[in-house]
Structure formats: structure tokens, C-alpha cells
């Protein structure tokens, strides 16, 4: 089996930290946008329900931010602690976006502090809403900058290699490498989708448990509409990502699709199993669809694994990661579409118990899709850490203590995850929306939202 050397343990620790951070990072990118939208609608419609929504989301958000910040700090330091040789080389080319990212954090942190403590300080509520803009822009910028770094690892450019030294460095060219546009688009879209889906799931859950009120119905409508729109956007971005892969990183697409032989009019393989000698069984086959996914033409040629040297092929199990991600994306699209259709017609109720349970499920599933997507993207880069230049083993630390650190961080994440969940639950259980509505906006607490 696999050997647990420093490089392997470093991979495990990095994967664990990133896998944990990405949950909170996704929320950190997406939820501020939803908060901003809710507050804006509240002001425009002069409807206190939406304002309360923004307020309550913010209160939960701030707890997840804390975990996002500390795990982000962890991964930031771990990059140097676990991958010193990689950072020494790659740092020469790609430190610009990492550095810029810290400014985005600064920007976001400052305005988040201001946003949080000034709800009732302005005469005109729109001024308070203005403070939300730098918060979600800061989150999107963080995502943008860090994703350019990850894109660079997949399609490095902006330097020349002379022996072992890097020359002719062009930081901007490194940042805007071929992988950047599709990756950034897909990461942003999927973060927005996931955040909307999670907020919708919480709302649906409360409607199921308690009685549904106007407040919750409005919240569900807003979040499900957003889920639908962002699901479309995510699928478009995912399609563009696949087309990018076909051009620039064909081995990742080929391994993800179990596409062994270069051919025209390639079939798309969904799920299935692989026998000892790479025979595909039990799959669903869609004729010519892979050619379409790769190049937008049902008869185009798609590069297969036969073109890739054996020792540079990514592991084939990433196929399942890809399929799960896409299926979950389709699920999000389907559920939100169903909700919108049902809410169009008076005769049907969109607050049907079954539909609500499907919506509840969609929240955690969307987060899983993010995890699957990243595993697909990162493992699909194997064996490279810097594609074409440096392999993962060459980048890792040689310190003998990584194993212990892995256990220590595992404990930390279990602790943080558990307490974060408990605190969030308690926060909203002790202070249900109805009570807060009564308390803050007594004039509308019973009946409609409009004044």
C-alpha cells in the first residue's frame, strides 16, 4: 500500500486543512452577497422581514467567518511549513496574488467590523447597506486571488527555466494563466450556489419543524430563486472548465472521463466500474457527448490517456468525483426549478412537505459538490504540484514530525467543527425569528410585511 512518508503525510494534512477551510471559505464568499441582496430588498420594498433576514444571517455568518479566518491562517502558514521547496521556487513567480489576497482580507475584515456594529447608527438605512458591498467584494477578491494561484499550479507560465533557476519572470502573466478565467468563474459561481442552497436548506428545515410564517416564506423564495440562478451559472462555468481542460490539461479530463483512446465522436461515460484491465462496466453511455463537452462539437477529437506517459497519469478514481459533482449540480438545478414551477401555480403548494425535505437535503449536498470538485481538480493534477515542472514529492518537507502534526490538526478541526455547529444552533434556537420580529418590529409582527 501507500507509504506514509513526509510527502504523503504532508498531502494528507494539506488536504484536510483545505477540505475544512473550503467549507468556511465558500460561505465567506457567498453568504455576504446573499446578506447584501436581502438587505437591499428590505430597503427597496420597505419590508422589515428582509431586513431581519439580513440581520440574522449576519449573526450566524460572523461565527463561520471566525473559523474561516483561523483555518485560512493555518493553510497560509502550512503552505510554507509543509511545502518549503515548492514555495521557495513557486514563490518567486506567484507571490503577487498571495500578497494581494491579504489586502482583500484586510478590506473585508475592516468593513465587516463596521457592518456588524452599525445596524442602527445611520439615519438612512441605505448607508448601512453600502457597507455590505466591500464585504462581498472583498470575499470575491480573496477567492479570485487564491484561485489564480491554484490555476498557476495547473498551467504554470510567466517564467523560463534555465537549468535550476527561473528567469524572465512576469508576475502578471503567471497570474493570468490559461486556467484562471474558467477556474475563477466556476469557483465564484459554485460558492454563490452553495451559500444560497445552505440558507434555503435552513429555512426549509425551520418551516418543516415549526409553523411557516410570512417571514420564512419570503426567505425561502429569495434563497430558492438565487439557488436556481446560480445553479445555471455554475453549470455554464463547469462546461467552460471542461472545454478548458480539453485544450490545456487533457490528462485531467481524460482520467476523469475514463477516456483511454484518443478518438473522434467520443462517448461520455457516467458512473460505472473499472475492471482489472481497465474495462469499463455497468456505465451509462451517452454517445458523442464527451466530444461535445470538450469542444462543443459532437464529432471532434478528444485526447485520451494513450497520449499521456504512464507515470504522468492522474489516478482514475477521480472519475467518481467528477460524476458526483455534476450529479449534485443537476440535483440543485432540478430542485430549485421544481420549487419555482410549483410556486407559479396557485393550485400547487411549493411548501409541500416532500419538496421541503428535498430542499433541506440540497444544502449539505451542494457543499459536498464543492469538496468533490476540489478533489477532482487537485488529485487530477497528480503527480504534479507544479504541472510539468515539479512533482509533489519534490515539493514536500523532509521533517519527520508531520504525522504528529496531522493528528494535532485533526483534533483541532473536530473541536472547531463541533463547537461551531453547537454555537450556531444555540444562537438561533434561543432567539427564534418570531420573537425577534416581535421585539424589533412590533408593528408588523402579526400579519403582512408592508407598512
Amino acid at each position: 500500500m501507500m507509504e506514509l512518508d513526509s510527502a504523503m503525510l504532508s498531502r494528507m494534512l494539506t488536504s484536510m486543512t483545505l477540505g475544512f477551510h473550503i467549507i468556511f471559505a465558500t460561505i465567506g464568499v457567498g453568504v455576504p452577497l446573499m446578506i447584501s441582496i436581502a438587505e437591499f430588498i428590505g430597503i427597496k420594498k420597505n419590508d422589515a422581514h428582509y431586513t431581519l433576514l439580513a440581520r440574522r444571517w449576519t449573526r450566524g455568518f460572523i461565527i463561520t467567518v471566525a473559523v474561516g479566518v483561523v483555518t485560512g491562517t493555518a493553510i497560509g502558514l502550512q503552505l510554507s511549513l509543509l511545502w518549503p521547496s515548492f514555495m521557495q521556487i513557486a514563490g518567486k513567480v506567484i507571490s503577487l496574488p498571495l500578497f494581494l489576497e491579504t489586502f482583500a482580507f484586510f478590506f473585508e475584515a475592516i468593513f465587516l467590523g463596521a457592518y456588524l456594529y452599525t445596524w442602527d447608527r445611520f439615519k438612512k438605512p441605505i448607508y448601512h447597506w453600502l457597507l455590505s458591498i466591500p464585504v462581498f467584494v472583498g470575499g470575491a477578491l480573496s477567492a479570485f486571488f487564491i484561485t489564480t494561484v491554484n490555476a498557476f499550479m495547473n498551467t504554470p507560465q510567466g517564467f523560463d527555466l534555465e537549468g535550476k533557476t527561473l528567469v524572465n519572470l512576469q508576475p502578471l502573466e503567471a497570474m493570468f494563466n490559461p486556467a484562471t478565467p474558467t477556474k475563477v468563474f466556476h469557483v465564484l459561481a459554485s460558492s454563490y450556489l452553495t451559500s444560497a442552497a445552505i440558507l434555503a436548506a435552513i429555512t426549509a428545515f425551520i418551516i418543516l419543524k415549526n409553523k411557516s410564517t410570512d417571514y420564512h416564506k419570503k426567505a425561502l423564495k429569495l434563497t430558492m430563486t438565487a439557488t436556481f440562478l446560480f445553479a445555471i451559472l455554475t453549470a455554464v462555468a463547469g462546461d467552460l472548465s471542461a472545454k478548458f481542460l480539453a485544450e490545456e490539461q487533457p490528462e485531467k479530463l481524460a482520467a476523469g472521463e475514463w477516456h483511454f483512446d484518443t478518438e473522434e465522436g467520443a462517448d461520455l461515460v457516467l458512473f460505472g466500474t473499472l475492471s482489472e484491465d481497465n474495462e469499463i462496466k455497468n456505465e451509462i453511455r451517452i454517445p458523442n457527448a464527451l466530444s461535445f463537452l470538450a469542444h462543443g462539437d459532437f464529432n471532434s477529437e478528444v485526447t485520451g490517456l494513450d497520449q499521456i506517459p504512464e507515470d504522468e497519469q492522474p489516478p482514475l478514481w477521480i472519475h467518481y468525483m467528477f460524476d458526483l459533482m455534476v450529479s449534485l449540480g443537476m440535483y440543485a438545478l432540478g430542485v430549485s426549478f421544481l420549487y419555482l414551477v410549483l410556486s407559479r401555480f396557485k393550485r400547487w403548494s411549493e411548501h409541500n412537505k416532500w419538496l421541503l425535505w428535498l430542499i433541506v437535503l440540497n444544502g449539505p449536498l451542494a457543499m459536498l459538490a464543492i469538496e468533490f470538485g476540489w478533489i477532482y481538480a487537485e488529485v487530477g493534477r497528480q503527480p504534479w504540484i507544479l504541472r510539468g515542472y515539479m512533482k509533489v514529492v519534490e515539493g514536500a518537507t523532509t521533517s519527520p514530525h508531520v504525522g504528529w502534526m496531522f493528528l494535532l490538526f485533526l483534533l483541532l478541526y473536530i473541536l472547531l467543527g463541533t463547537i461551531c455547529t453547537l454555537v450556531l444552533r444555540k444562537l438561533f434556537k434561543d432567539n427564534p425569528a418570531e420573537a425577534e420580529l416581535e421585539h424589533r418590529y412590533p408593528e408588523i409582527a402579526d400579519g403582512g410585511g408592508k407598512e
Partner: protein
């Protein structure tokens, strides 16, 4: 000025910024816990949470900025420090993580808990101790370079008087800086009970601070005489630092002008920190990395400097806005908003 000099100056300024804001935060955690244990929490804890709540995330970013910038300007530091600091670095991360998240859980969550308070207080002292290890290592003598990489000489580190005097200095400085700031803040909030309590703490922690500085000096002369000699060449920086120290203690003792007193404290550390830093050059890690050998290429250096200037243009107005809203808004400080 060359990129490496601009780079290290900027980074050192940010590390100094972190030293001040983080000390306030770390010390406040300790005082909050201590006050709770001695049943004085009704006096100061409100004050502490009013100041800390809006700014803790900003504090963290100072730190992130420093280490990301360091690796950016001087990629070699990633290799040497990264390779050797895995254990102390990981411990510091874990402490920071516990502190940051538990602060948020306690403060934004619904319930006060003794365990959170304890973790928040204890980490406030352990983190500076763990982080100061990086500075200790930079003096050289704790790292060994062999054929298969570099490694930390843990035994030497744990038995070195220099290393322990730095730890001690870090902890007492935190308490001193923090209490000086909170005295000022309490005074602004017109909270006389809190002010008197904090004022007692400053006076109490001032003498260990100066004693620890002296012992560190002496230990340094034993450990890295070259650095020590260069610090002696810059004796006037340390002289100014001591003068500001005396001024600050005098003002606080006289109950005069607490704002100025805190500025004096900041100046005291500014001169000592920059005196130490300037004498440290050209080494970033004795004897492996110097400014010249470790610096990144010109293209990246230029890009980082431009990014930095653009970033500042964005940040400074935002920071001023934040300070005006929370630190200088008298009504907010007094708890009326």
C-alpha cells in the same frame, strides 16, 4: 532604495503593527480571565469586549500580511523557516485558531462560558511565547544544514538562556502594552474604576518589562556577539526607547494624559524594535539568508511594491473610517451606541 530594503522595511513595520495590536488583544484576554477569577470582571470586561469585538479580525490580518509578504519578498525564508519551524509553527497556528474562534463563539454566541474564557486568557500568553521562537531562531545557532535538508536543534533551543529570556520578554511586554492601552481606553470611556485597575497593572508590569529587556541584551551578547556589537553601535535608538519608557511610566503614575502615555509606550517599542531589526541586518537568518541572497527577482519585487502602494491607498482610508467609528467615537466608547 533597493527592493530588498523596501521590502524588509515594509514587513518590519507590519510586524511592529502586529506587535502592538496583537499585544493589546493578547493581554486583554489574560486580564479578562484574571479579572473573572478575582471577581473584578464587572469592572473591565465590558470595556475589553467593546474595544476588541470590531477589531480582532483586523489584528489577525496584520500577521497574515507579514508572513505572506515575507515569503513573497524573500522566498528562501519559506525554505529555511518552513522546514525548521514545523512544530513550533503548528503549535502557534493551533493556539491562534483556538483563540480566534473561541473568542467569536464566546462573544457572538449566546452564552458566556468559563472554559472559553480560560482558553482565551491562556492562549494570550502562549502565542507570543511560541511566535517569539521565530525571532530567536533567526539569531543562528539553532539550525543545522545537512545533506538531506535543514533541521531545528530543539535541544539547543530549549536549553538556551537567550531563547528563554526572549520568551519572558515577549510575555511581560504583552501585559505591559495591553494594560497601557486599556488604561487610556478606560479613561476615554470615563470609566474610573476600570482605569484605576488597569493603571495599577501598567505600573506593576513596567519593571519586569525593563528587566527582561536588560536580560535579553545580556543573553544576546553571549549568544550572538556580532549582533550585540551592532546593537551597541545603535545605542542611541535604545536610549530613546528607555527615555520614552520613563516618560510613559511617569505620565501614568501622575494620572496625566493617558493618550500621550500610550503613544510613548508605542514609541518605546518602536525604537527598540527597529534598533534590534536594523542591527540584525544584513541577516534574515544568521548565517543562511541575507537580504541580498534571499531577495526575490526584480520583476516580482517591483510588482510587490506596486501592489503594496495600491493596497495602502485602499486600506488607509478604510482603517481611518474604522477607527473613527469605534475608537474615536466618544459615544461608542462610552457604550451609548
Amino acid at each position: 532604495m533597493s527592493y530588498e530594503l523596501i521590502g524588509i522595511t515594509v514587513l518590519w513595520i507590519f510586524l511592529y503593527g502586529y506587535l502592538i495590536v496583537a499585544s493589546i488583544d493578547f493581554g486583554a484576554g489574560f486580564f479578562a480571565y484574571y479579572a473573572k477569577q478575582t471577581k473584578q470582571d464587572h469592572i473591565i470586561n465590558k470595556l475589553i469586549s467593546r474595544y476588541l469585538s470590531p477589531v480582532w479580525e483586523v489584528t489577525n490580518v496584520f500577521f497574515v500580511f507579514f508572513f505572506v509578504g515575507l515569503v513573497g519578498f524573500f522566498p528562501d525564508t519559506a525554505y529555511y523557516y518552513g522546514q525548521t519551524l514545523l512544530v513550533p509553527g503548528s503549535i502557534a497556528i493551533i493556539l491562534l485558531a483556538i483563540r480566534g474562534s473561541f473568542y467569536a463563539f464566546e462573544n457572538y454566541g449566546s452564552k458566556q462560558s468559563n472554559v472559553y474564557m480560560f482558553l482565551y486568557g491562556a492562549t494570550g500568553l502562549f502565542i507570543p511565547a511560541a511566535l517569539s521562537t521565530a525571532l530567536t531562531i533567526s539569531e543562528g545557532g539553532f539550525i543545522e544544514e545537512t545533506a538531506d535538508g535543514v533541521r531545528l536543534l530543539t535541544g539547543e533551543l530549549l536549553t538556551s538562556p537567550y531563547s528563554w529570556s526572549v520568551v519572558f520578554l515577549a510575555i511581560v511586554s504583552v501585559l505591559y502594552i495591553s494594560s497601557a492601552f486599556l488604561t487610556f481606553y478606560a479613561n476615554r470611556a470615563n470609566d474610573m474604576d476600570a482605569r484605576e485597575l488597569m493603571r495599577k497593572y501598567v505600573l506593576f508590569w513596567s519593571s519586569p518589562t525593563i528587566i527582561a529587556s536588560l536580560t535579553t541584551f545580556i543573553a544576546m551578547s553571549q549568544h550572538n556577539n556580532e549582533h550585540f556589537e551592532k546593537m551597541l553601535d545603535l545605542w542611541w535608538m535604545f536610549g530613546i526607547s528607555v527615555a520614552f519608557f520613563l516618560g510613559a511610566v511617569f505620565l501614568i503614575y501622575q494620572k496625566k494624559n493617558f493618550g500621550l502615555a500610550f503613544i510613548f509606550v508605542m514609541m518605546q517599542f518602536f525604537f527598540a524594535f527597529f534598533g534590534y531589526g536594523a542591527a540584525h541586518l544584513p541577516y534574515l537568518l544568521t548565517p543562511y539568508i541575507t537580504l541580498e541572497s534571499g531577495v526575490t527577482n526584480d520583476a516580482m519585487g517591483l510588482a510587490l511594491v506596486i501592489a503594496f502602494i495600491a493596497g495602502l491607498l485602499l486600506l488607509i482610508p478604510s482603517l481611518i473610517l474604522l477607527l473613527r467609528m469605534f475608537l474615536f467615537d466618544a459615544d461608542y466608547v462610552k457604550g451609548k451606541k
